[in-house]
Structure formats: C-alpha cells, structure tokens
Subunit: 358 residues, 2 copies
DNA sequence: CACAGCAGTGAAACCGGTTTCAATTAATTA
DNA sequence: TAATTAATTGAAACCGGTTTCACTGCTGTG
C-alpha cells in the first residue's frame, strides 16, 4: 500500500519555485527523498547520519533514492540543526612562508577524504591579527581549530581551550601536551651545530630568527648548548639577531665581517637566512664551503639547488600538518590517541666541509 | 506602553537550555534582540540587512540592543534562509608553489575587511582533482569562486559559468574576458629573451615548463618570437621540456651539455628551473654570468639571494590576487567594473651580462 | 473631503535539516 | 498465551535567521 505523503504547503512551495524559475535545477531535499523512498524525513535523516538503526529494506530504498536524485544535504540546514559545520579553521603564522605553507598543505592532505574541509586564515605574524582571525573563524562556526606557529597570545589560547577543540602545530605550549605538535628545535639546532663542530669548526657564527619567536630562541639555545658541550667558548659577537629572512642573512654576515669577526662556519636559523648569508659571502669573495661552511634550517625546496646545495635541517612539515589533522579529528570524535613524535633530520649536502687552515 | 513579547515555547526552550548547560554562554539570537529592543524579529532583520526602511528610533534601539548583548548573527541560519554564505571558494593550482601562494595571499588581502571569507582548496596540478574540489566548494555553498592557474578543463568551466560567479586568475580563457586576470606571458618572455639578445647573446637556450600548461606554451612562444624578430635562427635542440621545477633545470642543462650544445644564455620558464640550471652549471664549473647568462620568471623571493642574484620577470602575483577578489566582489554585487591590466617587469640583477668571447 | 499611495511594522511561513517523543510492531520471556 | 522488551518509525518541534503578506497611519492629489 503506497501512500503519497505530501504536505499541502510543501507541494505548493515546490510548485511555485518551479514555476518561477523553471530553469533552475531544483535542489533535492530530504523531503523529496522521503517521498521517493516512501518513508518519513526522520528516517532519511537517520540513514544519512547513521544515528538510529533503520530497517534494511528502507535503508536501501533511501540510499537508492538519494543516488537516483543526486541528493546532497544542505550544509546550512545541517549546520543550523546540528550545530556542526564540518569545517576546520586553520590559522597560519604567515601565508607564503615555505615552512608554514608546507604544514598547511599537510593539513589539506590530512583532511582529504574526510567529511571536513579546512578554511584558512592568515595571522600575518601578528598576534592581534591572529586573534581577530580566530574570532572570524569561530563566527563561521568551525568545528575545530588548527593553529600553525606561535601566532596567538596565551590569554587567547586559554580562552580557546575551553571554547573549541584546538590543535597547535609548530610550537610548544605548556598545558597543551595532548594537542600540540612540534619538533625538538633545540635538539635539531644542537645536531646542526654539532655537525659543524665535528667537521673541526670552532668559530661558528649564528644568525637568529625573530628574537621573541619560540623557534628562534630554541635554535639559539641548541646552538649554545652544542658549543658549550664541546668546550667551545661562546662568542656573543658571533651571534646576530635576524628576522628569518634573506636580508637578515646578508646583514648578519656583513656585520660580522665589518667588525672583523672571524668565523669558519655559520648556522642560520632558517634556510632563507642561509641564502642571504651565502650571498653576502659571495659578494666578499668568500667561498662556501672552502672558507666558510653553512647550515640552514627547514630544508625548503630551494635548498637543494643553491650553489652549493645547502646542508640543512629537515622539518617534517607535511607530516606535521597531516598529524595535526588526525589529532584534531580524534579530538572531535573523542577518540583516544597519542600525539606522534616528530623527528627532524640533518640533510648533509655540500655547503659544509672539514675546516681548512684558518 | 511596553509589551513583553515572549512566545511561550521560546521562553521555555531558552530556560531549558540554560538549566541544562548553565555554563555555556547562551547564544544571543535575533529574538533576544527583538525582545530587548521591543520590536519584532522582522524589524531586527531589517536593521541587520538594511532591506526595508525602519524608523530611526527603532533602528537605534535595535543597534543598541545588538551592541549591548554582543549579538552575532548565526551564519547557518542566515545561509539557510538567504541562500548566501559570504564565503568565497579559492581553487589553487598547487598549494606550496611560490607564485600560486602569492596569488592566494593576495586574495586573502583583497577579501580582508569585507564580509566574505575565502575557503581554499588545492587542485594539486590535476584537473580531475580540481573538478572534485570545485564540487566540494559548491556543496559548501560558496557564493563565488576564484580559480587560480589553469586547474580546470573547459567543460567544467562552461558548467561553472552558468552556475556560479567565477573569476579566473593566472590563465586566459576565451569567452571569459570580463572575469579573467592574467599577465601577458608571451610579451614578458619576449622581453626577457630580448634582454639577453641586447646583451649580445645569440645562442640562447630555453627550458620550458609543463608542456601542456598555458603559461609554459606562451613563454616558449615569446622566446621564439624574440629570436625570430632579431633574425636569430631557432635551434630546437636548445629547447628542453621541463616541469617548472628545480630538477628540470638540472636536467635541461645536463642535456644541452651532454649533447655538446653551446649556449651563452638561458631563459628558464620559472625561477625554480633557473635555480636548478644554475646548479648544473656550477657543477660543471661554468660561471654565471661570465660564461652563461640566466633569466628566470616569477621573481620569487629567493631569486634575490641566489649567487649571483637572478635576473627574472616579476609577476604582480599579490596584485593579481587582490584584483581577483575585487572583480569577484563586483560580480557578486552586480556592479560595473573593468578588469585591471596587469603588467610584468623585468628585474635585472646579476645573472645576466654582456656576452664575452665565445 | 474621499481616496490612492507609501513608509513602517508584526505575524507567520519558510529554508532544510536534526532530534525528541510517543506509537506501532515484532521478538522474547515467563 | 499473556506480558514485557526491543527495534523501528513518523509527527512535530526546533535551529535562527529572511521574506512575504496584510494592516495601520499619514501624506498627497483632485
């Protein structure tokens, strides 16, 4: 016994819609499916979300109808009713920086084939912009947040923690152990410096990143620790405060040279800085690696093609992004999980070699 | 005469909500504002959207109430009712490529301070992925689309054209003149090659990008035109098919050298390729620019710090992104506008110089 | 002075889903 | 075989806005 369950007003509204705009492909709604499959809206919704058991026959009928009519649930209706948006907000420290872009790309990969989509926002290196941007994302009802780089102040973080599931990538924050992905910058920097020491260098310069930036501080710290551990006295004049960009590399080297500081090796806080440093040396006719060895950090794609190819620390950026997506997904589904340990790797290329005669 | 307009069920539901979850900051809705300002929901909505004139007194009352209660309209409810999402979908050719990232960044900038937010998706260089990704975005009810790079097939484009306001950036498509932003790749390539010719070079090699890619074809074409115009015969053996990456640069140069082809200058289809080429020359002990001059394309940030700094064609990537956002906004608001003309610029640095003795 | 026209407004329908609640039916237990 | 329990299911409320429609005063016109 078939029944045609059509509410008077629903039929009317659909009719009117079609009359007014006959060219528009009418949107298939859950009600259409219900009619087609001869069940109620409720049942269709149940099949859709798998919340309550539905008799196999009906389930099949519903699925068939959905397929046949090419049904796609309306995200707004769904969001309004359920409160979920299936959207993840991603705040990046800076759009266009190789390392943050790579992490972002990882997030995209990690979210592919899930029901969630990322929506990106750029913190532009400024915590207050970051805060505003988070606000916008929350206004857009994102289900979760991934914050790349130390783009927020701790007060904002505290608030976030009780507001919305959040994962931090690329920086370590106390109290966030379960939802925080980062590499051991200090150890990595130590390894990098150690590599130079093992090659016989003792006069090793360092150009830092943005001084207040966590990565920068830890890399500087690792550099110091390596030197100290090797019994090499730290010369503060061989440390230059940079800003993570090519220009800092140029300025740093210029500064050392103008002050007559001697050094046979240089550890740069990131690859961009290393590129700049390499250029400054080139300008002075100082050879790499014959006269000065250089180590960078990040292993951005260009590092393999500089002259000479740059020895650098590889960050598993892509993997971090993927892992961040996974952790957040687990958080959202309240599943148990452990935060993966992320390892860096020193990629030895041709910008470093045994120290020659001083 | 004040009236307390509170629907029984609304009051009840709010009460229950608060009882159940007293810690949760209850969401302020349009009804709350209506009650507070002593008007109807309709009026609040009118103030919110400025659709129908509202008496000044009431408007003020409503605005005051909204401010006082810190009201933010629910995007889902709004989207469901109005059909607008205030979201722009951005499909990029490839996440992580400097040039596309820069355009994306421009879009972000262009959309800042508007009511629209971008939501990004990565086409991963593959048209079919691009298509899927567009589908997802449409499923998310984006109000408009920005497609960066030639990431879609023309059949898909045709469909898009009648479905949703779309702007194309970084590629030219017939029939899309009013909503298409691109640079004159051919002219730019011609200028770049011309620059080499003016420096006295006649044996000028070229490494292309992905052969089927529009940018690549046009740059190749510009290269040919410049040579022909200068009366230089084109040597097909001096053209190598690359893939827009560093490795292509290495392979290209290796290929020329192994076949004993002589050249004193090289035009690379992009900077990444130029970097690779420069490395290959370095490996062979061939100097730049003394023995070989190199010109790249894109002016990505690293180009200024290579040894020597790379002469290259600057693309106004950021500006293109900004312009794309503007054009789309105008499209959405059905405003008149003209598509801005975007100019490239040859940035002459130190990788090119007068040809020495052959 | 009667009537058309317009600014302003509230009630209620509507957008398209989810979820609660009660009812129906089938299966299980005593 | 009667009573109880579990599995399914539909009706209706609800999410929070927008928009249509009808109605109230006022103003302008003849």
């Amino acid at each position: 016994m078939l029944r045609a369950i059509v509410k008077p007003h629903e039929a009317l509204s659909r009719l009117r819609q079609n009359l007014l705009d006959p060219l528009v492909k009418k949107n298939v709604t859950i009600s259409d499916i219900a009619t087609q499959a001869n069940v109620s809206k409720s049942t269709v919704s149940r099949v859709l979300n798998d919340t309550t058991p539905v008799h196999e026959d009906k389930r099949k009928a519903v699925l068939a109808a959905m397929k046949k009519m090419n049904f796609e649930p309306n995200v707004f209706a769904r969001g309004l009713a359920s409160g979920q948006s299936y959207t993840i907000g991603v705040v990046t420290q800076n759009f266009g920086s190789p390392i943050y872009d790579a992490i972002s790309q990882g997030v995209v990969t990690g979210l592919a084939d899930t029901t969630y989509s990322p929506i990106f926002a750029d913190g532009q290196w400024q915590p207050d912009i970051g805060e505003a941007v988070v606000q916008t994302l929350i206004g857009r009802k994102v289900d979760g947040l991934i914050v790349i780089g130390s783009s927020l102040e701790s007060s904002v973080l505290d608030r976030l923690k009780k507001t919305i599931p959040t994962v931090l990538v690329g920086w370590e924050v106390e109290g966030w152990e379960k939802q925080c992905l980062f590499i051991d910058n200090e150890q990595a920097a130590r390894n990098a410096t150690q590599h130079l020491i093992e090659l016989g260098h003792t006069q090793i310069a360092h150009i830092t990143g943005i001084a207040t930036h966590q990565d920068s501080m830890r890399r500087l710290w690792g550099y110091r620790r390596a030197l100290t551990a090797a019994g090499i006295e730290i010369d503060e004049d061989l440390i230059f405060e940079g800003r993570f960009d090519g220009n800092s590399g140029v300025l740093g080297v210029e500064s050392f040279l103008m002050r007559g500081k001697r050094f046979t090796a240089l550890f740069a806080s990131n690859d961009a800085t290393a590129f700049g440093a390499r250029l400054a040396l080139y300008r002075r006719g100082i050879r790499v690696p014959e006269d000065v060895s250089i180590v960078g950090f990040d292993n951005q794609s260009e590092a393999a093609f500089t002259t000479p190819p740059l020895t650098t620390v590889r960050q598993p950026a892509q993997e971090m992004g993927i892992a961040a997506a996974e952790v957040l997904l687990n958080l959202l589904h309240k599943k148990e999980f452990t935060v993966p340990k992320l390892e860096t790797e020193l990629v030895i290329r041709e910008s470093t070699r045994l120290r020659g005669n001083p």
